[in-house]
């Protein structure tokens, strides 16, 4: 049976992980490859590496990082952050990335999704959406790492993205991200039930029960988290045993 996926996310700046970690036993906790390999060994189902570098050197460091990850890590991984062209994607996939994620560039130029899925196939194109609930009770798309509001409804953009060829949606709820009060169950469920592609829920995972909730009530296909794994508040093997005991299909 196809399992739900647990996905640690690593934020990368200038080739190093940021936000810190609590892995005192790692030789170099700032090395995304060593941290990623650790998660893979612990049973993570996939990894996401999100580059938040804002310099001209970015493309080169990201492609070099993809190559190092692909050499050392034996599970699938997605690379994202500032990807805006077929050439960006070609280099990353050639260097061994399994999927790439696009966000702001795809919103500004939806044809990018069509172009990328046409050249590389939908299976490797993840559309990342940052969403926030406004006073009217509806969820809207935000750009540039959540700094720029739009007037576009989250579900409308997700549907359009899938029609254009996105093979997965990585949904981050800005209302939940960083709170550790639980994932966005309602919004995730809305997308997961409306879309014919998998939905990865991101933002708010703080306890093992939150993961169970987002899979059961939120219908998520995968759950992504960062700091709860980095700071060892949740240990992946323990989480997976717990979810298995909860009756959720999980790889152990």
């Amino acid at each position: 049976m196809l399992t739900k996926r647990i996905i640690p996310c690593l934020d990368i700046k200038n080739g190093r992980t940021v936000k810190g970690t609590n892995f005192i036993d790692l030789r170099d906790a700032g090395d995304p490859v060593e941290l990623g390999a650790r998660y893979a060994a612990e049973g993570a189902d996939e990894l996401v590496f999100l580059d938040i570098t804002a310099t001209q050197e970015k493309r080169k460091t990201l492609s070099e990082l993809a190559l190092r990850i692909a050499h050392h890590i034996n599970i699938p991984f997605t690379v994202g952050g500032g990807i805006s062209s077929v050439e960006d994607v070609r280099v990353l996939l050639d260097n061994g990335a399994d999927k790439i994620s696009v966000n702001t560039a795809a919103f500004k130029n939806p044809g990018l999704i069509l172009e990328l899925s046409g050249v590389f196939g939908s299976q490797c194109i993840v559309l990342a959406i940052d969403a926030k609930r406004e006073a009217d009770g509806k969820y809207y798309v935000y750009l540039n790492g959540g700094r720029v509001a739009t007037e576009t409804n989250c579900l409308d953009w997700a549907k359009q993205g899938v029609e254009l060829g996105a093979g997965e949606i990585l949904l981050t709820s800005m209302d939940h991200d960083g709170t550790r009060n639980g994932f966005a169950v309602e919004l995730t469920g809305l997308l997961a039930e409306s879309l014919p592609v998998p939905v990865i829920a991101s933002g708010g995972g703080g306890t093992m029960a939150h993961f169970s909730e987002i899979f059961k009530a939120g219908k998520a296909d995968a759950a992504l988290a960062a700091s709860v794994f980095h700071f060892k508040e949740i240990h992946i093997p323990v989480l997976k045993e717990y979810l298995n005991d909860e009756g959720i299909s999980i790889r152990i």
Binding site: M1, L2, T3, R5, A40, D45, A70, H71, H72, N74, I75, P76, L93, D94, N95, G96, D98, F120, G121, S122, Q123, C124, G167, E168, P196, V197, P198, D221, A222, R251
Partner: protein, 197 residues
């Protein structure tokens, strides 16, 4: 031992190369007919579209070359599908090593599953030395919209919407629908088994 990975217009080729490196095996990525024919083991990988892949192989004479290989050959994902008789993906005649045909996943009313299948799924009824040391119902990583049905050459089964072939074997040809190069330790064991044939 010379291991060759067939180079063609499909993705994930370097991932297979890196996976072999992790288990201590060196391989060469090439479309050179002499190098392919003289290899001890051949891996035919691929993520992509069947029709354009078959056209690419035919234009270079690689279709006939592959059909006539006598050494162990392992097709991975699209590579396995291209070793089958026919694919529904753009109505493509394939290499015909395996008699199975490749069909598109159609979500059923009682099984509204998403296509492509992306993620970890179990493999069952393991019936080949390709799976030595691999436990029944082990998890492997799959990414695909098309599948080969069950048939006489099936050596492993998976279930998604309906049962289908997770792996095929006939003579010196093997094929796996999942990605051993991305399937953690189980995948590495399967690659090791293949290169030790």
């Amino acid at each position: 031992m010379k291991i060759v990975i067939i180079k063609y217009n499909a993705g994930n080729i370097r991932s297979v190369l890196f996976a072999l490196e992790r288990i201590g095996a060196e391989a060469l990525v090439t479309d050179d007919p002499d190098l392919i024919c003289n290899a001890d083991k051949i891996i035919f990988p691929g993520v992509g579209e069947a029709n354009s892949a078959m056209n690419y192989l035919k234009e270079r004479g690689l279709d006939i070359l592959i059909q006539n290989l006598k050494q162990p050959v392992l097709g991975v994902c699209l590579g396995m599908q291209l070793l089958c008789a026919h694919s529904e993906e753009n109505d493509t005649e394939c290499l015909g090593i395996f008699s199975e045909t490749v069909k598109k996943f159609i979500p059923a009313e009682d099984k509204p599953l998403k296509v492509p299948q992306i993620g970890w799924n179990n493999i069952y009824n393991l019936n080949s030395n390709l799976f030595t040391g691999v436990a029944e119902s082990s998890f492997c990583y799959f990414v695909h919209s098309y599948y080969a049905g069950l048939g006489e050459t099936t050596i492993a089964r998976a279930d998604y919407i309906q049962p289908y072939s997770a792996a095929l074997h006939k003579g010196n040809f093997y094929g796996v629908q999942f990605h051993p190069e991305k399937s953690a330790g189980m995948g590495e064991r399967i690659l090791k088994n293949f290169i030790q044939f």
